[in-house]
């Protein structure tokens, strides 16, 4: 039993972007890589949920259009013309085909859920760790690790991809009381899956990264 931590009106929000040294604000202009990533995320979600994709461009845009937060991406894709549009469409269709070919259909009994949002307040709500996981598989823990976290990437593999998932592993541990047992990044350019087991050392290193990021934040605000 403990005091309930309540929301601080102006908490320090830590996201994967903050850990990368970027600001939280939407300072990244919409370009082809960002739009492609958003569309592939939507198509992955659709594939996991209903098991099929018909027209990648149309399905992806329709999925994004229902979310007002994606308006800028929808507008960007809508304004693509000529070669840029056909190249974008070709890349999307190629990655979608790889995803459908390589990603298995998950049994509903595995409890797959997509775009699961984690919001973990710490220090009395003055710090909030935030993340959205593309796919969580497995029942809630009954005392031991029971879920796997999956992130989808439409770009080239980067060293920081693992760091992002480790951050999500920390969030899931803090939220549910049990660490996930495995993390996996699915690269839709190649169909490759990069997986690693979650260990105490991995989580401890992530805690250190969060503390370092908070330290940088504090220095920058002085």
């Amino acid at each position: 039993m403990s005091r309930l931590q309540v929301e601080d009106p102006t908490p320090v929000v830590v996201t994967k972007k903050v850990l990368r040294g970027e600001r939280n604000a939407k300072d990244r202009p919409v370009g082809a890589p960002l739009a492609l990533g958003a569309l592939m995320d939507a198509l992955f979600r659709q594939f996991v949920t209903i098991g099929r994709v018909e027209d990648p461009m149309e399905d992806g845009l329709n999925a994004l259009q229902i979310d007002p937060g994606s308006a800028e991406i929808v507008r960007y894709v809508g304004e693509l013309e000529g070669t840029a549009r056909s190249q974008f469409r070709d890349e999307l269709e190629m990655q979608s085909a790889i995803m459908i070919d390589r990603w298995p259909r998950l049994s509903p009994a595995w409890m797959p859920r997509t775009q699961e949002r984690l919001t973990v307040p710490l220090a009395g709500g003055r710090v909030v760790l935030v993340g959205v996981i593309d796919l969580v598989v497995g029942s809630p823990s009954s005392g031991s690790a029971s879920v796997c976290l999956v992130e989808l990437k439409s770009g080239h593999p980067r060293a920081q991809d693992r760091d992002e998932l480790r951050f999500y592993a920390l969030l899931e541990t803090l939220r549910s009381g049990a660490a996930p047992f495995r993390l996996a990044t699915f690269y839709t350019r190649t169909g490759q899956v990069d997986a690693e087991d979650v260990t105490d050392e991995l989580l401890a290193s992530c805690v250190t990264r969060v503390l370092v990021a908070l330290g940088h934040r504090r220095s920058a605000n002085r």
């Binding site: 149309e58 999925a63 259009q65 229902i66 409890m111 984690l118 939220r175």
Partner: protein, 292 residues
């Protein structure tokens, strides 16, 4: 400090939450106290309703208590979206899962959506009508949102320990003297609490309430939970809320609020305060319109 928060590290989570939900409890609220609260609240709402003006309605719900400054923004007209559709779909899917334990939430929601599209698209404005008009991509988002929400709730509680739970136990309440003010309690699960001394009181059944909350606990959390209890207490159906368990799946936190007169009185105060803000906001809007 009213209420107790559960440790997020206690596992399994479903056992901790279910223990908190169905625990035996001494009677803390009487039907007479509820009657007394109703007698105080009703004239206060009637007075506020008189200041609202004709044809102006206000819904007091947890959202208004939490975000009083933005509750009156927007068109005020209900619209279906992936956010507004996920809860009714998820609750319907969860009912199906409880009726058939071999059914997983993902399958139950797919079945629910297919049935709604098949059977109700002629009813304009209904969920089925809205779903039927969606493209494949948009419908997949709605389905995915509902599956995620339902899976979280399905895993939060040990359902075998609840005796005929009510799934989707919402209450809307208004008085004849102030029909334009509606108190709305959004309650995901209601469960009868066995063995409570209250259960024997003049035909009233003691009910524990389980609420799925959004985001992380706000300073208004106890008022939000108290409002749900108030709507059940004042509802004509003979149920006395014995406790409210609020659960925030995004952060794993939970708050257990035993319901007594003090909690309900605090909820009444929060309701009246939010209405005061709503009336002054609308007055300012009217003045601005006249000035414009």
């Amino acid at each position: 400090m009213i209420g107790t928060s559960l440790s997020p590290m206690a596992l399994p989570r479903s056992r901790t939450l279910t223990d908190a939900l169905v625990a035996r409890s001494e009677a803390q609220l009487t039907a007479a106290e509820v009657t007394g609260l109703r007698d105080e609240l009703e004239p206060a709402l009637a007075e506020t309703a008189g200041r609202l003006g004709p044809g102006v309605g206000v819904r007091v719900d947890a959202y208004r208590l939490r975000f009083p400054a933005v509750a009156d923004k927007g068109t005020g007209r209900f619209e279906w979206s992936s956010r507004t559709a996920r809860r009714p779909l998820a609750l319907e899917g969860l009912r199906a899962c409880l009726a058939n334990p071999r059914l997983a939430p993902a399958q139950a929601i797919a079945d629910t959506m297919a049935r709604l599209v098949r059977t109700t698209p002629d009813r304009v404005g209904s969920l089925g009508d809205w779903l039927a008009g969606l493209s494949l991509g948009a419908r997949s988002v709605v389905q995915a949102e509902a599956v995620t929400w339902a899976t979280q709730l399905a895993g939060a509680i040990d359902w075998r320990r609840l005796d005929r739970p009510f799934i989707g136990h919402d209450r809307s309440l208004s008085f004849t003297t102030s029909p334009q003010i509606v108190l709305r309690g959004r309650i995901e699960v209601g469960a009868l609490v066995a063995g409570s001394p209250q259960r024997q009181e003049v035909g009233y059944s003691a009910t524990a309430l389980f609420l799925v909350m959004t985001g992380r606990p706000a300073p208004t959390a106890r008022d939000e939970l108290g409002l749900a209890a108030l709507t059940v207490a004042l509802d004509p159906r003979p149920q006395l809320p014995i406790r409210v368990v609020g659960w925030w799946p995004q952060c794993g936190r939970a708050l257990v609020l035993p319901v007594d007169e003090r909690v309900l009185r605090r909820a009444v105060d929060a309701v009246l305060e939010s209405l005061e803000q709503a009336t002054s906001h609308r007055r300012d809007q009217a003045v601005a319109r006249c000035d414009g």
